[in-house]
């Protein structure tokens, strides 16, 4: 994956065929069921905190639903176009933010599905049921890293 162009309107990235397929498969997984309710506080004994927590979880569910609606267009043929044996992904300013949130949601929910381990290195031969979550985490992390760092790498190269 590499950054082709960057402008005020957004970014264009070049992806290999394998990367494009992986990104499409990953985004199609969204949303992975989230079974963990979010806590709003660790120390506040105020009874109002429980009400706030309920509202927070409701708002977050709505936010995920909005992300879900925006997920498929990001990997449609209009945005992820084939160019010879490569693909070009075009993302507007908001698109990239949405894609980052979707990828990180997949990463975090896969981690939760593994039982929130402290050590993220998979065992040498993890059971199949775990391997799938490890793979999703790694892939999502790879794309997040690329989306966030290709810009910086390019800036640094230009400044040299």
């Amino acid at each position: 994956m590499r950054l082709l162009t960057q402008s005020e309107g957004g970014w264009r990235y070049q992806l290999s065929r394998g990367e494009a397929q992986a990104l499409r498969s990953l985004v199609k997984l969204f949303p992975i069921p989230a079974n963990v309710a979010v806590k709003i506080t660790k120390t506040d004994p105020d009874p109002q905190a429980a009400e706030r927590e309920k509202l927070l979880n409701k708002s977050l569910a709505e936010h995920r639903e909005e992300l879900r609606r925006n997920a498929q267009p990001l990997i449609s043929d209009d945005r992820l176009k084939i160019r010879g044996d490569r693909y070009v992904l075009s993302l507007g300013l908001d698109d990239r933010e949405t894609l980052l949130q979707i990828l990180n949601d997949i990463r975090v929910e896969s981690w939760r599905a593994l039982g929130q381990p402290e050590n993220l290195d998979p065992l040498t031969n993890p059971p199949e049921s775990e391997r799938v979550h490890h793979n999703r985490m790694s892939l999502a992390g790879y794309f997040e890293h690329m989306l966030l760092n290709l810009e910086e790498t390019r800036k640094a190269a230009t400044e040299r």
Binding site: K42, D44, R52, S59, L60, L100, L148
Partner: protein, 102 residues
């Protein structure tokens, strides 16, 4: 010679009881981000810059504090704003909470 002036006493100023607005009296909260092994460091920095409008350097300082000390107090706000920030941070899947400031 100038005429002698009659001495006079300046009245003592009356000090009213200090008043504070409802806003001053309302409880405030720390918005805290907690460490986890899953969110990437670059991603956390990016989220702080996006949500709080911080420069990269400040965002990285807080990210490193989260990473090294287990948590970082990001901002102190009234209930409503603190709730909003927690919602935004959680929307990005960071582990954030609001804790009473006093």
């Amino acid at each position: 010679m100038p005429p002698t002036l009659e001495p006079h006493t300046i009245p003592r100023p009356t000090i009213e009881n200090e008043t504070r607005s409802d806003e001053d009296l309302a409880p405030t909260y720390y918005v805290v981000c907690w460490n986890d092994p899953v969110n990437l460091m670059d991603y956390v920095t990016h989220v702080f810059m996006k949500i709080f409008g911080w420069q990269r350097q400040k965002a990285e300082q807080h990210m490193l504090e989260v990473h090294e000390k287990g948590k970082s107090v990001l901002i102190r706000e009234g209930a409503e704003k603190a709730e909003f920030y927690v919602y935004q941070l959680q929307g990005y899947k960071l582990q954030a909470t609001m804790e009473p400031a006093e």
